[in-house]
Symmetry: D2
Amino acid sequence: MALPVTNPAAPFEVTRLSHVVVQSADLDRSRAFYEEVIGLVLTESDANTLYLRGVEERCHHSLVIRRTANTPACERIGFRVAAEDDLDRASAFFSGSGLEAEFAEEPNQGRTLRVTDPGHLALEFCAHMPTRPRELADYGSHRGAAATRIDHVQAHVREIGAAAAFYGGLGFRVSEYASEDGTEQTAFRSIFLARKGNANDIVLASNLGPRLHHLAYVVHDAATTLMKVCDLLAGRGAREQVEWGPNRHGLGYEQFLYLRDPDGHRVELLSYPYQLIDLDDGPAGWSTSNADVANLWGPPAPESWFRVASPFDGVEPEPPALRG
Amino acid sequence: MALPVTNPAAPFEVTRLSHVVVQSADLDRSRAFYEEVIGLVLTESDANTLYLRGVEERCHHSLVIRRTANTPACERIGFRVAAEDDLDRASAFFSGSGLEAEFAEEPNQGRTLRVTDPGHLALEFCAHMPTRPRELADYGSHRGAAATRIDHVQAHVREIGAAAAFYGGLGFRVSEYASEDGTEQTAFRSIFLARKGNANDIVLASNLGPRLHHLAYVVHDAATTLMKVCDLLAGRGAREQVEWGPNRHGLGYEQFLYLRDPDGHRVELLSYPYQLIDLDDGPAGWSTSNADVANLWGPPAPESWFRVASPFDGVEPEPPALRG
Amino acid sequence: MALPVTNPAAPFEVTRLSHVVVQSADLDRSRAFYEEVIGLVLTESDANTLYLRGVEERCHHSLVIRRTANTPACERIGFRVAAEDDLDRASAFFSGSGLEAEFAEEPNQGRTLRVTDPGHLALEFCAHMPTRPRELADYGSHRGAAATRIDHVQAHVREIGAAAAFYGGLGFRVSEYASEDGTEQTAFRSIFLARKGNANDIVLASNLGPRLHHLAYVVHDAATTLMKVCDLLAGRGAREQVEWGPNRHGLGYEQFLYLRDPDGHRVELLSYPYQLIDLDDGPAGWSTSNADVANLWGPPAPESWFRVASPFDGVEPEPPALRG
Amino acid sequence: MALPVTNPAAPFEVTRLSHVVVQSADLDRSRAFYEEVIGLVLTESDANTLYLRGVEERCHHSLVIRRTANTPACERIGFRVAAEDDLDRASAFFSGSGLEAEFAEEPNQGRTLRVTDPGHLALEFCAHMPTRPRELADYGSHRGAAATRIDHVQAHVREIGAAAAFYGGLGFRVSEYASEDGTEQTAFRSIFLARKGNANDIVLASNLGPRLHHLAYVVHDAATTLMKVCDLLAGRGAREQVEWGPNRHGLGYEQFLYLRDPDGHRVELLSYPYQLIDLDDGPAGWSTSNADVANLWGPPAPESWFRVASPFDGVEPEPPALRG
């Protein structure tokens, strides 16, 4: 198997991971968690939906939470395209690729193109959102981690090669990856794909899929902030929501903390990732036998981190093709 | 006067600020400062040149320091282009624009195109550099601020409108600006221009020019790191090298510290800037009568910060046309 | 002049600086500042009084703020004694020393002995306060700097020698001092006196007195916290309340920030001072000609820091005897 | 069983935990660890001994490491007394108590009184050490955690009641304790005893004893420093030396990190403990069934933390009397 080739002439211009749509059994509880612990700003809400964004984000939302009466799942991973006509080019491209894509008019993000990728992940693409002022300097209203902006999602897919090839075709590049021996000669465990000038927009992991493993927000002054968030959860009697960390990744080198939101969705808070712009900077491969991949020090991740992830709404996850 | 228009079909693709070339009267002293205080990695050096980079940078250098027997000046501001043939397109474009551009073969950055911009700034463009491993995780060798990567330069120019228009034509966008009343109706004091997905690659200020006001590196855990760097300078008996800060900018909202290197060149260390990708996010204007523009709290900048800057090699600075 | 001799058999046992009583023209405004910016806990209040304490303090208050219709002054500096009968011994001692001391029954601190020291500072001594739980781990309720505990006061006195001798007689030791040439041979500018096992309980400075120069609270994670408090004040439109810092003292080596409260009283936030227990550790002398005494880097303190201080209620400050 | 009573008229004045003496199989390796990771200052060394101190400590040493050819053990826990004649009073007191105490002349700490406490811990008392300048402001020479000063030791004893009573008799007070139900009615798991004005000088835990569980140093800017130390160890290829943390204790509320030194001795780095001076502040009891006692969030301590500790030289540890 080989790493995906980055298409230098992508059919349309994806600029970055835009947002994630997840479900919740209790919106009040979700709101309290994301506002008070993660420190997101509630841009808007109605009886069934919360629209949240990071404190530096001008876009209307990077996280949408919808009320559900069922087991809370992930609904969509959203990407942003550069301009309105990229959506039309995207539509044409997906049709030509045999992928069923359809337009919807979505409140607060306008014309939205929906498609399921070859990893069975439910995606959507939009070109615009209403803007709001950055709340970066509204220091008096910052709470919890005051998470600044969405960084990436990690998704479990059962055909990592096909899924990664799809993103390569859209112009994503591989920043890092883990395989059995750290080269392209062996089966991939995870592939980090990037568009926005740093190391991560979407991370694909070979596992029971499709599932959302986590969504990730960047925080300032990570060492202090990550410790503080844990203290906050302790003060709320929610020590079990601290799943793993603070610690530091080998792959990517970010300081991290993994939390579980009140519906069980996993949220990563991380320090600022490195910049990845120059084409000279080829992918870095890690061997899965190297404990440093996941964390540079301390004991390994808890079992739950390897095993538990959010299903996609209405889709039964299946074991990975090559690892069953 | 109006803000420059961003050319959506730029003649060639500039990806980011690449590097700065400055002169020093004493390379040993410079090396000690940049290695021990700023925490850059010395990639390579010879009797007359130091090549330095941030701890996360894979490119060969983001700062070049050359020995001089004269008053130390700034030699060049370097930009990176996406690929080799962008240099040829750039050359053609500059010729067509009546700007004299010439190629040189530069050690450690290959074919390099040199041109003087309408603000009289000496620029160079390159497409490749040899790569080195990121030293982001070589924690035992980190020193001082362990600055991660170059972020931006600020240059004084005497015709800010013409200079900004040049960068707009190359596809730069305006993130923020300061003018007398905070709108485009009055004279600009400064214009922040960006390519790489955050708020700053080059900042133009209307002042005696051309001069290099400062070069800026990003640091992790800014609050702790900025305080630590000041302590380090105190411990070296160099308290006067701390020119201003730690403090926080209004415009851009970064935490900052301004140091003067041993030759008097100004270096800013700053926290991670916000992301600027979406085209929805229009420029933010600040009025120069608002003290918050420069710093959100505490007394204003010292006089030296407004007055002192590094000349460009062999060029006598002149007062700004519109403000004489 | 010589440094005061520490009395090894003090007539009664002072354990630490206990609290400060200051006046305010507007209690709501004071409360907002001390709760939201300094992060103190409001233990109790009535129409004319606020009782505040640090988040780790179990004692009822370390700061009392009383409403006044006049110019807000400092009322009292409070010390804690080990036990109830220390108050009786103190009373006897003061009588024998020709100092008029009188007992009062003070709400929330019981029997309280009041006396004016030879520096004309209004003091009070108490042995008990009602206790409250430490709010150190109530992370959800922490605000602003979440100041942990009172550390010291600095007072301006006009006869520093006589004033210091008084504290030496009560068993205080000198940790550090500044004089013209850094020895006991020249006039003292300031003397740092300590009881509680670190370097500071009361600092005496030779200046127009008696006046309260500042009261000081310790904060955790000082670099991050001090920067954050400045941001908070900026966000409140109160940038001018940041008087000086963040910076680091030479004398004492703490990181510091000086704020002015809404009535103009000066509050220092500082990092944890060093421990001073061993009798082997003699006083450290600094020369006032050494700029490092006040701050290790950056420009000197603003003029206001040298000139402005809070008068004591009903007492007209006078110039220092030896420096007129 | 009841908590020990604090003797208000202790037979001699212990001021604080002074130092710990441990053995090492490889002094070079120990030196590298304590200098480069913990950041202690090497005051002096000879072929068989290292004398180390924290960066703010003026005393000659707070950690002594002696070369051994056997399994590295703990040799002594050292306490400081106020003055020389306290040693004589201590000697008389121990004789009168049926404890065999003997004087030795110890290099760098003068006349030293040695005794074994009822918990079988090897103690020594000294009144003086040569002083050195604080290196608190020698920022250029700080390394690793730049640990500031020794805070406490934790020792395993098999008769926690008798051991605690001994320290109560010497004037130590109980700050906090853990017992089965959080009261004095049930068996004690641990008792925190303090002299120096904060919560800890010696912690006794009921376990296979006598053993040294850990020695603890305080660090500045704990969140940042603790994360940095882990990174440093990772960079040294010593990820397994990070035993537990960063995290935060319930009992005591300090942020903490437990490391294992190259000989297996456990070192805690912790944030500044709260102040404990007022006699009003009674002991806080925790139930051992409360997971928060040890850490406020995240998974429990690894097994090794409960099981592994350093024996005392030449003494075979035995199970606790009441818990066998």
